[in-house]
């Protein structure tokens, strides 16, 4: 089974580490590529600079996006994506915030899904299982639509 590429835009090393650990433990069929902020995420998605080689930096099947990041935050990444007509990658917002305003704004800017970062590791495992079941199982990504 070919692994799907999951682009993780996350500035917090702890959060990135914990998620990668949980994905690893769940044996998730994802190859995780991590970028540290929104600016890098945009550079990666548009293949700029050091990300221009699509062999080593393939377009992701899924973007897991933190909201509060330095330089360019998640909302700005969503806004940028709205302007890219060719980019049809589902974006899952993965944020600390459970504020209604943040959730609504994320969906208004075209987020495909919104999940709150859990505190307990059982909850994180639960999130990872759901992520695998839906986004690597049931769901068709834009780039993999069967013809």
């Amino acid at each position: 089974m070919t692994k799907k590429v999951l682009l993780l835009a996350e500035d917090d090393d702890n959060d990135a580490l914990l998620l990668q650990r949980a994905l690893h433990r769940a044996d998730a069929p994802f190859r995780v590529v991590r970028v540290n902020n929104g600016e890098e995420a945009v550079a990666y998605l548009s293949g700029q600079g050091s990300f221009s080689d699509r062999q080593t930096h393939p377009l992701p099947d899924l973007l897991l996006l933190d909201l509060k990041m330095p330089r360019m935050d998640g909302f700005e990444v969503l806004r940028w994506r709205l302007a890219q007509s060719m980019l049809i990658i589902p974006v899952i917002v993965f944020s600390s915030s459970t504020i209604e305003r943040d959730i609504r704004q994320a969906y208004e800017l075209g987020a495909s899904s919104y999940a709150a970062k859990p505190i307990r590791s059982e909850a994180l495992d639960h999130f990872v299982h759901a992520l695998v079941a839906w986004w690597a199982g049931v769901n068709f990504s834009g780039s993999r639509i069967p013809t």
């Binding site: 959060d15 914990l18 909201l67 509060k68 600390s96 307990r120 590791s121 994180l124």
Partner: protein, 414 residues
């Protein structure tokens, strides 16, 4: 002149001006005046009469006479119109204008000036110099009085302007504070939880991966750490709720409390089953004027509280009743809990105030409830339940306005 009712909009002018008789009178007066003037102008053998006043002043030059007649007439007419407008403005604003009497003084002054100009026209044909002089006396009096009264007004108007500026500055300050608060909330929601996740997850990993190497004491410490983290997380969540409850959009409308109770019951189903709690509303609850979501918050917090502080061996019982007095509704939540000492009855609504350290809680729930009630212009309080033990929380809200009888079909409940 247009027919009555078309150019003037009745109802938007004070009754006197809107009255048809007034408008007809004005039309007739205007027509008579204009007619008289035309008659005078056309029919008079202009300057043909020896001994006409101003005969020499105007050099027996008809065009010069016309120039003076027309300009004086226009100035007089404009002055009259201006003072009428000022009068109407002051009347309509009904004292909303600061120093409105100055406007009236101005009006008098201007109308007097207008009269002076009309007299200038009249004396061309009629040598009514005495009358003209008396009119000038009135004008002089009005002018001098106005000139005197506006001088001490200058510092007061300047103060008014300064006050307005100050008010504007304060408004901007409050706006700035609001924005800061918004940013603060955002930061709490996003940044404060990240370190907690680290703490929680890594201590959990420690237990999972290295649990066997740890002494039972070390594991107990780690468990306490976990509990602290969970508490901090609950605190953050509740603080955010408290911060946003005062800021979210308010929709005051008729809300059926029975509907609210039904919703909250289903939201709290698990909790209620766990505690085997009995919640009863013996009579139907009346509709109130409130916000459905805020009312849910109120019911959820008060019911949650009522069933929480009950000795573990007894079954929590809450009775919800309501009384209507004139245009207010008092909802009462009577429980069989441990009760609240009279000294603490004010304090419990403050942020972070807790009565029982053994029961879980953040000390924010009742502060949230109070804020929700106050946003709906209501009040909340607590007294001892009778016969007791337990307490009775009361919430005073505005009653729903009387409506036309509701349609029979249960059309569109919210």
């Amino acid at each position: 002149m247009s027919p009555p009712g078309s150019s003037l909009r009745p109802g938007r002018l004070p009754g006197f001006f809107a009255h048809p008789a007034f408008r007809y009178g004005l039309c007739i007066l205007g027509a008579v005046l204009v007619g008289m003037l035309i008659f005078e102008l056309v029919d008079m053998p202009l300057l043909g009469r020896i001994g006409m006043p101003h005969e020499t002043c105007y050099l027996r030059e008809p065009r010069l006479v016309w120039l003076h007649v027309i300009t004086d007439f226009l100035i007089g007419a404009a002055y009259t119109s201006i003072s009428v407008t000022l009068g109407v403005l002051v009347w309509r604003a009904s004292r909303g204008i600061p120093f409105h009497w100055v406007f009236l003084a101005f009006g008098l002054f201007i109308v007097a000036c207008g009269l002076t100009h009309f007299m200038e026209v009249v004396v061309i044909w009629h040598p009514v110099y005495w009358l003209s002089g008396y009119v000038k006396v009135v004008t002089a009096a009005a002018s001098v009085a106005t000139a005197i009264v506006i001088i001490p007004l200058v510092p007061r108007v300047l103060r008014l302007v300064a006050d307005a500026r100050e008010g504007n500055r304060r408004r901007l300050e409050v706006e700035q504070l609001n924005q800061d608060l918004e940013r603060f909330n955002y930061s709490v929601a996003h940044d404060l939880r990240a370190p907690l996740r680290g703490l929680s997850a890594f201590s959990q990993i420690l237990i999972e991966d290295h649990g066997k190497e740890l002494s039972p004491e070390a594991r107990a410490h780690l468990d306490r750490m976990q509990a602290s983290v969970a508490r901090m997380d609950a605190l953050i969540t509740d603080l955010l709720k408290y911060a946003t409850i005062g800021r979210q959009e308010l929709r005051l409308e008729t809300v059926a409390l029975d509907e609210v109770l039904r919703t909250v019951r289903s939201l709290m189903e698990v909790e209620l089953l766990e505690r085997k709690a009995e919640i009863a509303a013996p009579e139907p609850l009346p509709p109130v004027l409130g916000d459905a979501l805020l009312l849910q918050v109120v019911f959820q917090n008060l019911l949650g509280n009522a069933i929480k502080f009950v000795p573990p061996e007894s079954t929590p019982r809450v009775e919800i009743t309501a009384e209507r007095h004139d245009d207010t509704v008092t909802i009462m939540f009577t429980d069989n809990g441990t009760g609240i000492p009279p000294m603490a009855r004010e304090r419990i609504f403050r942020l972070f105030e807790r009565l029982h350290s053994k029961h879980p809680g953040t000390g924010i729930g009742l502060a949230i409830t109070q804020r929700a009630v106050e946003r709906m212009q209501g009040r909340i309080g607590v007294e001892a339940a009778e016969p007791g033990p337990g307490s009775r929380f009361w919430v005073l809200l505005r009653a729903a306005p009387a409506q036309a009888p509701a349609p029979k079909s249960n059309g569109s409940p919210r």
